[in-house]
C-alpha cells in the first residue's frame, strides 16, 4: 500500500492542553487560516509525531514546528536542523526532542523518504494546564507564519487578495 507523496509538509507538534507546549498545533491552524493549506500539506501532529507522518511514502521537505527551550525570550523563534538539536545540549525541544528524532529515524527505516528537515522552535512562556497560548507566544504567530511561507517560498496572501 504506497503512501502519499508531497513536495512539502509542515507539521506542528505539541500538546494542545499545555498552553505554549501546543504552539506547533496553533501554528498549523494559523497557517491554515492564512491560506497555506492549498500550497503545502499542513499536519496537526499532536503528541504522535510518528503516526502523523506514517501515511506518507515520500516527503520532499519537512518543516516541524514545536516549542523549544533555549530559543531566547518567550516568543522568540529559532530555525535549526535536527542535528543542531542533538548537538546543542542546552536546547530542549519541550517534550518532543527524542520523540521527533527517533520518529524520523523510524520513518526512514520503514522506507519513507524524507528530504531536508527544518525545525522552527518557539520559546515557551507558560506550560501549565490550558488551551490558550501565553501572550508573547500568541504574538509571535504572524511572524512564524511569514517565516514558514518564506522558507517554502509560498505566498498565499497574494492568492487570497485576488
Amino acid at each position: 500500500m504506497p503512501g502519499a507523496v508531497s513536495a512539502a509538509v509542515v507539521m506542528g507538534v505539541g500538546n494542545l492542553l499545555r498552553q505554549d507546549e501546543g504552539v506547533g498545533v496553533h501554528a498549523i491552524r494559523a497557517l491554515a487560516d492564512a491560506g497555506c493549506g492549498s500550497a503545502v500539506e499542513l499536519v496537526d501532529g499532536g503528541t504522535a509525531v510518528f503516526d502523523a507522518l506514517s501515511s506518507w511514502s515520500e516527503i520532499g521537505r519537512l518543516v516541524v514546528i514545536d516549542a523549544l527551550r533555549g530559543a531566547g525570550e518567550p516568543g522568540a523563534i529559532l530555525r535549526l536542523s535536527p542535528q543542531e538539536t542533538e548537538d546543542r545540549t542546552e536546547i530542549a525541544l519541550s517534550l518532543h526532542q527524542q520523540g521527533l528524532l527517533d520518529s524520523l529515524a523510524m520513518l526512514r527505516h520503514s522506507g519513507v523518504r524524507i528530504g531536508e528537515v527544518v525545525i522552527y522552535g518557539v520559546e515557551p512562556a507558560q506550560m501549565g494546564w490550558g488551551t490558550e497560548l501565553s501572550e508573547p507566544v500568541a504574538r509571535c504567530l504572524p511572524q512564524l507564519v511569514a517565516q514558514v511561507e518564506d522558507e517554502l517560498d509560498i505566498s498565499p496572501t497574494e492568492e487570497k487578495q485576488r
Binding site: 494542545l16 503528541t47 504522535a48 503516526d51 501515511s55 529515524a105
Partner: protein
C-alpha cells in the same frame, strides 16, 4: 559482598507523564522498588465551564498513543450524564468498538515491537545481513553509516536468539511499523483523522457508515489479521521459548481488575453489568471471578505529594490538594486501590478475568499456550504472561472486528444528538490498551462542573498507599534477580511488560547516590 545498589530509571516522556523507577538491589536481588510519577492532575481545570460535548474531543489530547480510549471513556460518562446511555444507535456503538479496537491493535504492536522487543532482540544482527529482505538491507545500511537511532544506547549481554532469528525479528520491527500505519488508516476511516480522531462523540459516532467505508476497513483489517496471526503471535512465542525463565519473573500483586470493554449492547446502563466483548471482573491467583463495584475504588495519597486529608475518598468526590513538600511522599501519582488492595490492570488482567468468566475463545487460546510450554496458569503471572496476553488479545480482536464491521448498516444513524441537560453526572468505565480507564463527569447549568480521570498507569505504577502496600509494578520488581548491575535487563523487562508507555533514561546509582552508568531506555 552485601553491597546495596540503587538502580534508577528516570524518564522524560512526551506521552504519558513522567515516571521514575528506582530499585534497591542487595546481593543481586531487588529488595525494594519505588515508582514515582506525574499525571494529569489539574487537567479538569481546562474542562470546567465548557460544553460537556467538548470533553471527548479535548481529553484525547492527553495522549498521542491512546487518544481513542480517552474519547471513549469520556463519551460514556457524558452519555450517562445526558441520560442517553441506553439510546446509542447500534451503528454508533459498533463504530466506537471498531475505533477503540483499532487503537488496541496499533498500541499492542507498537509496544511489543518498538518498545519491548528491543530488550530481547539484538537488532545489531542486521549488520552483516546478506539477502533479499529490503527491511534488513535498509537496517544494515543504517548500521554501516553508524545511524543507530532508535536502537541505541541499549544494554549489552543477554540477547539469546540466533543470528538468523534476530535478523528475522529485526525485519519484523520494520514490518510492524507498516502494520501500525494500516491500523491508523483503519482509525481514520471511521474517526475522520488520526492522531486525535473526531469520530467518537457524546451520543455515538459522528460518522455515518457507507458500503465503501466498510469495504475499505475490511481490506485493511485483512492486512492486520495476517500480521498478527502470522508474525506477531509467533514472534511472542519464539521469544518466550528463548527466554522461558521470564515465565517466573515479575508476578506482581496477583490481583487483577478489568472494567470490561467493547459494548455488545447498550440496554444495560450499569457499564460493569453491560454485556461486553471483554468482560468486567476481578480475579486473584485462584482464578475465581468476582464482580467490580466502582464505589469501592478510592485513591490513597499516603506516599503521594497530596494532602493526607484527601486520602481514600471515592473518586467521584475526590479532591486534589498538592503537598509537594510532604516528607514521606515520592510520587505525583495517587494510589488507586479497590477495597484497599492494589490491583494490576491491562491485557493480562483482562485475559485472566475472561478466563475466569469462562470465555471459550480465551480458554482455548490460554490453554493452548500453556500446553505448548507445559506450564500451569501461574506461568501467566509474569513478564512473558503479559506479552502473551497482549498478543492473544490482539488476535481475538482482529478476528471479531470483521464481524463488527459487517454488522454496520450503511446510511443509518450513528448518533443520538442531544443538547446538554441542566444538570447530571456520569461515569465512563472502559479499558484502554493499557488497562482500566475511568472518567467521571458532573454537569451543572448545562456546563461541566467537575471532571476526574483514573488512568491505567496510575493503577500499575502507583506508589505505596496509606498502609505502605506497594503498587503493582513495585511488587513485580521486588524479588527480581539482577545478573549484571551495568546492564539491568531484568528491571526494564519487568517494567516494560506493564506497557507503561514512556521514553526514559536509566541511571545506575550506588547506595550513596553516586552515579555508575547511564543508559537510555527506549
Amino acid at each position: 559482598m552485601h553491597k546495596d545498589h540503587t538502580i534508577t530509571i528516570d524518564p522524560v516522556s512526551r506521552i504519558e507523564g513522567h515516571l521514575k523507577v528506582e530499585v534497591t538491589v542487595d546481593g543481586g536481588t531487588v529488595k525494594e522498588a519505588r515508582c514515582s510519577g506525574q499525571l494529569f492532575r489539574g487537567f479538569e481545570i481546562i474542562l470546567l465551564e465548557r460544553d460537556p460535548r467538548d470533553a471527548p474531543l479535548l481529553v484525547q489530547r492527553v495522549c498521542g498513543v491512546c487518544p481513542v480510549v480517552h474519547a471513549a471513556a469520556s463519551a460514556l460518562s457524558v452519555d450517562a450524564a445526558f441520560g442517553i446511555a441506553d439510546q446509542i444507535p447500534d451503528n454508533g456503538r459498533v463504530m466506537r468498538n471498531l475505533l477503540l479496537a483499532s487503537e488496541y491493535l496499533q498500541s499492542h504492536i507498537l509496544h511489543f515491537y518498538h518498545l519491548a522487543a528491543l530488550d530481547f532482540v539484538d537488532v545489531a544482527a542486521a549488520a552483516d545481513y546478506e539477502g533479499p529482505d529490503s527491511a534488513l538491507n535498509s537496517l544494515r545500511d543504517f548500521i554501516a553509516r553508524q545511524e543507530l537511532a532508535p536502537f541505541t544506547p541499549r544494554y549489552e549481554g543477554d540477547y539469546r536468539l540466533s543470528k538468523k532469528d534476530n535478523q528475522e525479528r529485526a525485519s519484523h520491527y520494520v514490518r510492524a511499523l507498516e502494520a501500525r500505519r494500516v491500523a491508523h488508516e483503519m482509525l481514520a476511516v471511521f474517526g475522520g483523522k488520526i492522531p486525535h480522531q473526531v469520530g467518537v462523540v457524546a451520543g455515538g459516532c459522528a460518522e455515518v457508515p457507507t458500503a465503501d467505508k466498510i469495504a475499505a476497513f475490511l481490506s485493511k483489517l485483512g492486512v492486520l489479521r495476517h500480521f498478527i496471526e502470522e508474525i506477531y503471535v509467533p514472534d511472542v512465542v519464539a521469544i518466550a521459548k528463548a527466554y522461558d525463565d521470564y515465565f517466573e519473573v515479575g508476578p506482581g500483586p496477583r490481583r487483577w481488575l478489568s472494567y470490561g470493554a467493547f459494548d455488545l449492547e447498550t440496554a444495560e446502563t450499569d457499564l460493569l453489568k453491560r454485556k461486553r466483548f471483554i468482560p468486567s471482573g476481578r480475579v486473584s491467583q485462584d482464578l475465581k471471578l468476582r464482580p467490580v463495584d466502582a464505589g469501592r475504588i478510592a485513591e490513597q495519597v499516603g506516599h503521594s505529594w497530596y494532602d493526607d486529608a484527601t486520602s481514600g475518598v471515592p473518586v467521584a468526590a475526590a479532591k486534589t490538594v498538592p503537598a509537594p513538600d510532604k516528607e514521606n511522599g515520592y510520587s505525583w501519582l495517587k494510589a488507586p486501590r479497590y477495597d484497599g488492595q492494589a490491583y494490576e490492570v491491562g491485557p493480562l488482567a483482562r485475559t485472566l478475568v475472561a478466563y475466569a468468566a469462562g470465555d471459550a475463545a480465551v480458554r482455548s487460546q490460554v490453554d493452548g499456550l500453556l500446553g505448548l510450554f507445559k506450564a500451569s496458569p501461574a506461568a501467566l503471572f509474569s513478564v512473558l504472561g503479559r506479552h502473551a496476553a497482549r498478543a492473544l488479545e490482539a488476535k481475538r480482536l482482529v478476528k471479531e472486528m470483521a464481524e463488527w464491521v459487517t454488522s454496520l448498516r450503511p446510511g443509518e444513524p450513528a448518533c443520538e444528538w442531544r443538547n446538554p441537560p441542566q444538570s447530571g453526572s456520569g461515569v465512563g468505565l472502559t479499558e484502554g490498551a493499557r488497562g482500566a480507564l475511568g472518567h467521571w463527569c458532573e454537569i451543572n447549568d448545562h456546563k461541566l462542573s467537575g471532571y476526574q480521570l483514573v488512568v491505567p498507569t496510575t493503577w500499575n505504577a502507583s506508589p505505596q498507599d496509606d498502609q505502605g502496600q506497594p503498587g503493582p509494578m513495585e511488587q513485580a520488581l521486588v524479588g527480581t534477580k539482577i545478573k549484571d548491575m551495568d546492564n539491568p535487563f531484568e528491571v526494564v523487562r519487568v517494567v516494560r511488560s506493564f506497557d507503561p508507555c514512556l521514553a526514559c533514561s536509566v541511571h545506575l546509582l550506588t547506595a550513596k547516590g553516586q552515579e555508575r552508568t547511564r543508559c537510555r531506555v527506549l
